[in-house]
């Protein structure tokens, strides 16, 4: 895996020139955005203001003007920067991926599919709205991997009876108002071939119950019939941080060797304590929650910023590095 010195060299040799070029575009978009906002905000305020002034105090009109300003600025930057965003991904993120994993391909609009997400069975909540971007896939050594940013949601009809009676209409805007979205997962979702053949499932989830309720929490976990059998692991730190469910006691330990448990703990230190893993039918799935929208260009900060670019490198290295960290290319067992 490429180290930080390699990245430094790559940054100055390959990325810097592209970043300078893109930063000039960014500045131009920023100026255009300011101009568009400066023109449209007073126009919009003048159009809406008189209508509002009859019923609302001046402070409301000022608030509307401020909101319009933010909205217009956001909309204008998105519209004017639509090529800038695509160019950034093509000129910066794609070469970075090639640098970290020569066998990998990048699709900015692609995503892990819902079938893969569901197959991992990490989340019990039914997902009926699924979206994602920045799909990275390919083969590293002997291991096929894919990961992308994912947003999985559960959409439910609003059961508020008053609202329902008020909005009893087929109009799409009303039906939109009548729906409530709950985010099941937002972050990076990773899928790869595991280096051992096995059937069944081993789920490694953050241990919230034991953390807050101790032994009573463990008792509750052992009653979770939907997840399978509770597996008590022989690594005290691991056991403290994670709860493991599996279809078979021996199989779970065949998958979660002492070495793999140490690797998961190391990985968790870098990603945070909400990371979930699922080992299922010779596949490994990892869900790393993340609130940030990853691999996106900055609009209001200079692109020629080493720390910013280094963060893209770190995020990508963390995920691509799973193959090496978990020794997924090792083939000393019967799997070819």
């Amino acid at each position: 895996m490429k180290n930080y010195d390699d990245f430094k060299a790559f940054y100055s040799d390959e990325l810097l020139a592209e970043l300078l070029e893109l930063d000039a575009v960014r500045k131009r978009i920023l100026i255009q955005t300011v101009i568009v906002t400066a023109i449209l905000t007073p126009v919009l305020t003048l159009l809406i203001g008189p209508a509002l002034s009859e019923h609302f105090p001046t402070i409301t009109i000022i608030s509307v003007a401020c909101l319009s300003c933010v909205g217009i600025a956001w909309g204008a930057s998105r519209f004017l920067g639509r090529h800038y965003r695509a160019d950034f991904k093509r000129m910066i993120i794609k070469p970075l991926i090639g640098f970290l994993g020569p066998g990998l391909s990048y699709s900015p609009e692609g995503s892990i599919d819902l079938y893969t997400f569901r197959r991992a069975e990490i989340f019990q909540r039914y997902v009926n709205e699924f979206d994602g971007e920045d799909l990275i896939s390919g083969t590293l050594g002997k291991t096929e991997i894919k990961f992308s940013e994912v947003k999985a949601q559960y959409v439910e009809e609003n059961e508020d009876s008053l609202l329902n009676t008020m909005l009893e209409s087929d109009d799409s805007i009303f039906s939109l108002l009548n729906k409530r979205k709950k985010t099941v997962f937002k972050g990076l979702f990773f899928a790869a071939e595991f280096h051992k053949d096995f059937t069944g499932q081993v789920l490694v989830l953050p241990d919230k119950a034991e953390k807050y309720f101790g032994r009573f929490g463990q008792m509750l976990q052992s009653r979770n019939a939907l997840r399978g059998e509770l597996i008590k692991m022989d690594n005290a730190i691991f056991e403290q941080k994670f709860v493991v469910y599996g279809s078979d006691q021996i199989q779970a330990r065949y998958v979660l060797t002492p070495a793999i448990m140490d690797k998961i703990l190391e990985f968790e230190k870098k990603t945070g304590d909400s990371t979930c893993l699922s080992f299922k039918n010779s596949m490994l799935y990892i869900a790393v929650p993340c609130r940030r929208n990853l691999f996106e260009p900055a609009y209001f900060k200079s692109l020629v910023d080493y720390v910013q670019t280094f963060r893209y490198f770190q995020d990508l290295r963390l995920m691509i590095g799973i193959v090496e960290e978990f020794n997924l290319n090792t083939r000393i067992w019967t799997k070819e």
């Binding site: 051992k196 006691q249 021996i250 779970a252 330990r253 090792t330």
Partner: protein, 186 residues
């Protein structure tokens, strides 16, 4: 009448709790037996590989006769089926040492190390060892769970009454703890 109902409930509770504890102890003991059975099956599978291993290594290193004889003898003992659990554990430990010698010997024969047959055997052996190691860990976890129930209050009262005794854990030898490096042979 209400007094009778209260009495019945109290008697019921006093009956249900010991029954629950007894059943839980039996469940834990059966879990130990179940895992031991699976582990035994895996150990047998590994013994079944031995004739193949011996014949493959023999083809390249015929003069290592003492080694082959020791391995064959260990296998015959294991397959005789007349050993107690403790004897089985002892034999397993000495067999692990023999396998270590085989691996060291193989290092002196590059042709053997590179042969398809040996590589396939090595992979299968690694797989089985990994599964056996997992089974041992599962066995130890089940035994710890069972022993805790036998020794902790209040289940220890039921355990004492019905003759549940604590079980031995599988001890992992120091040299076995370094076993994951077997892959270095390939």
């Amino acid at each position: 009448m209400p007094g009778l109902i209260i009495a019945a409930v109290i008697v019921g509770i006093f009956l249900i709790i010991p029954i629950g504890m007894y059943n839980s102890l039996v469940g834990k003991r059966n879990q130990v037996h179940n895992i031991f059975g699976t582990m035994d099956a895996m150990l047998k599978k590994r013994w079944d590989l031995i004739p193949n291993l011996v014949s493959t290594v023999k083809g390249y290193a015929d003069h290592e006769r003492t080694l082959f004889e020791n391995i064959t003898e260990a296998r015959s003992k294991a397959m005789s089926g007349q050993m107690s659990e403790n004897q089985k554990v002892g034999l397993e430990n000495s067999f692990m040492q023999l396998l270590g010698v085989v691996r060291a010997t193989v290092e002196n024969y590059p042709d053997l190390k590179a042969s398809d047959n040996f590589m396939h055997l090595q992979r299968t052996l690694n797989e089985l060892e990994e599964q056996i190691s997992a089974a041992r860990r599962a066995f130890n976890a089940a035994v710890t769970d069972y022993n805790n129930a036998v020794q902790m209050f209040p289940t220890n009262i039921i355990a004492g009454m019905f003759g549940f005794t604590i079980k031995e854990l599988f001890q992992i030898e120091a040299d076995e703890r370094e076993k994951p490096q077997v892959g270095g042979l390939l």
